[in-house]
């Protein structure tokens, strides 16, 4: 029996990519947790990368997040100047490429505590990370 795309199927409705983008456009950063093996992963997928299950739920990751690797992509000033590219590690385990903002690109350090920040709205929304400010974090 082919029950794909019927109501109630784990494969029905907008896919994980579209769901992630829609949430991000509303200022929400969420990742998937597998209800079968209880593991988190990122980027969003239709089935769990660890066990293949389609029983997935969206969860808001904990903050702070840690810088795992970092580089400065060098660019001429007239083309916009240098910018940061980093990989951050979420407390839940997954890593993702992103950019650390609100700090000079070359001042980003591995191990630094950062927190997610959605910049822009709708289809222009981009997830970046910013240094955790003294006085606590927000998730």
């Amino acid at each position: 029996m082919n029950d794909a795309h019927v109501e109630g199927s784990p494969f029905g409705g907008p896919g994980p990519d579209e769901t992630f983008r829609r949430k991000l456009g509303e200022g929400q950063f969420e990742i998937q947790e597998c209800q079968s093996c209880s593991r988190f992963f990122f980027y969003p997928r239709a089935i769990c990368k660890y066990c293949g299950s389609a029983n997935l739920h969206w969860r808001r990751p904990q903050s702070p997040v840690t810088v795992y690797a970092t580089t400065v992509v060098r660019r001429k000033p007239q083309d916009g100047g240098d910018y940061n590219v980093a990989i951050v590690e979420l407390q839940e385990g997954p890593r993702m490429m992103s950019r650390i903002e609100d700090i000079a690109p070359g001042d980003v350090r591995i191990g630094m505590a950062v927190q997610p920040c959605v910049r822009g709205q709708g289809s222009d929304a981009v997830l970046v990370f910013v240094p955790v400010q003294p006085g606590g974090t927000h998730g």
């Binding site: 082919n2 794909a4 795309h5 494969f11 409705g13 907008p14 896919g15 994980p16 990519d17 579209e18 983008r21 992963f41 990122f42 980027y43 997928r45 239709a46 089935i47 769990c48 990368k49 660890y50 066990c51 293949g52 389609a54 795992y68 690797a69 970092t70 580089t71 400065v72 992509v73 060098r74 910018y83 590219v85 980093a86 990989i87 890593r95 993702m96 490429m97 992103s98 950019r99 070359g106 591995i110 191990g111 981009v126 997830l127």
Partner: protein
């Protein structure tokens, strides 16, 4: 010789997904749904799949993107693009791989949302979509991130990495075919233009023209040709990701797996290897490969390459043609590892000839530290 494939393999699970229109779902989401169904049909679990045969119309490296998306660590995979007929070809190569024991559960798969996604961006799915907003300068940024982490975890320095570039240039100086042969100093490398910290222009492979070709025949007739044969002794492929943020550890590649299986097939160990040809897209590739292939301990690759060990006259000759860093790099370098290894085993390399070269290791790295392919060649079986 009875090595017929006839009757040697069978299809035990099938499924489709998203037939017709599947609005809002990407190519890989549909592909994964079909895989989910086929596994259920076969009563198999995802982690039992160890052979991947796939192609898509939208990914640069389909097996890497599909493998990463599904969370597979294939022991054998193929995404030869023969157009729409590729998948029938995969039935043949899957049967070959199964019969040879290169894999035990072969997955042949495809997915596309080309009707509903027509003209839209971000339709292919997968990790590249999620990296794109951050404008990584591929492939350099990925290797820069890995280098930054290797330095952080193990104390590897820019000087260690510069010695890789200097050793390659010393070999190139002995190779009339090499593109860049003038001497390279430590200061030249350290003062070179930074591209994506800590990688400078001299930590990067060249951009050149070039082509290579290799002919293989069955061993039983290998002595019937004018040149002494370089026998294939062992080989393996492995890939665990497409993009570097999906690596379990960015400082450890699937070469740990491809190398171990290639050595096991050949009945050899790293101490048996006389000469190495390693795909050096960036300087970090050499310490990473030497660690993951078992020539030194994890994390020791920096100091290991820094004392002339891999240079002309050193005890572990690496990239005797000058490598991608100094000989040539016409976009994809892998075939040149096979060619230089063969020339060394024949003993025809003149000033750069490694004495008594009987066993050569070739190792390739594809994508962003993603596909790892190892082959061992020998002058005797």
């Amino acid at each position: 010789m009875d090595k017929s494939l006839r009757g040697s393999a069978a299809i035990v699970g099938v499924a489709t997904a998203g037939i017709g229109e599947a609005p809002g779902r990407s190519s890989l989401e549909l592909l994964a749904e079909a895989v989910n169904g086929a596994l259920a049909d076969a009563g198999l679990a995802l982690d039992e799949v160890d052979g991947l045969f796939c192609n898509t119309s939208v990914h640069s490296h389909p097996a890497l993107s599909v493998g990463e998306y599904l969370g597979l660590r294939p022991r054998y995979s193929e995404s030869s693009s023969l157009g729409g007929s590729s998948f029938i070809g995969y039935a043949l190569t899957a049967a070959m791989a199964l019969q040879l024991g290169l894999c035990n559960v072969a997955l042949i798969c495809y997915g596309s949302n080309q009707r509903t996604a027509l003209g839209k961006l971000a339709a292919k799915g997968g990790s590249q979509d999620y990296e794109a907003p951050y404008r990584p300068r591929h492939p350099i940024t990925s290797f820069a991130l890995a280098t930054s982490r290797h330095m952080h975890e193990y104390g590897t320095t820019r000087e260690h990495l510069a010695s890789v570039a200097i050793s390659a240039r010393q070999w190139a100086g002995l190779n009339p075919e090499a593109f860049m042969r003038e001497p390279l100093t430590l200061a030249d490398v350290l003062n070179a233009r930074m591209i994506s910290d800590p990688i400078t222009t001299r930590d990067c492979c060249l951009v050149t023209d070039g082509a290579g070709a290799v002919i293989m025949v069955r061993s039983e007739r290998a002595r019937d040709f004018p040149q002494p044969p370089a026998y294939f002794l062992g080989g393996a492929i492995a890939h665990w990701h497409m993009q570097v943020d999906q690596m379990e550890r960015i400082t450890q590649t699937a070469a740990t797996d491809s190398g171990a299986r290639a050595f096991a097939m050949a009945g050899l160990t790293p101490t048996d290897v006389d000469v190495l040809q390693i795909y050096d897209a960036f300087t970090i590739n050499i310490p990473l490969a030497l660690e993951d292939l078992g020539f030194c301990q994890k994390g020791e690759g920096g100091p290991f390459v820094a004392d002339g060990r891999i240079a002309p006259g050193g005890p572990l000759p690496v990239n005797t043609n000058g490598g991608g860093l100094s000989c040539c790099h016409p976009g994809q370098y892998g075939v040149f590892t096979l060619i230089e290894a063969t020339r060394q085993l024949r003993g025809e390399c003149g000033p750069r000839q490694v004495a008594n070269a009987r066993v050569a290791l070739c190792h390739g790295n594809g994508g962003r530290l993603a596909s790892q392919t190892t082959a061992l060649l020998g002058s005797e079986i």
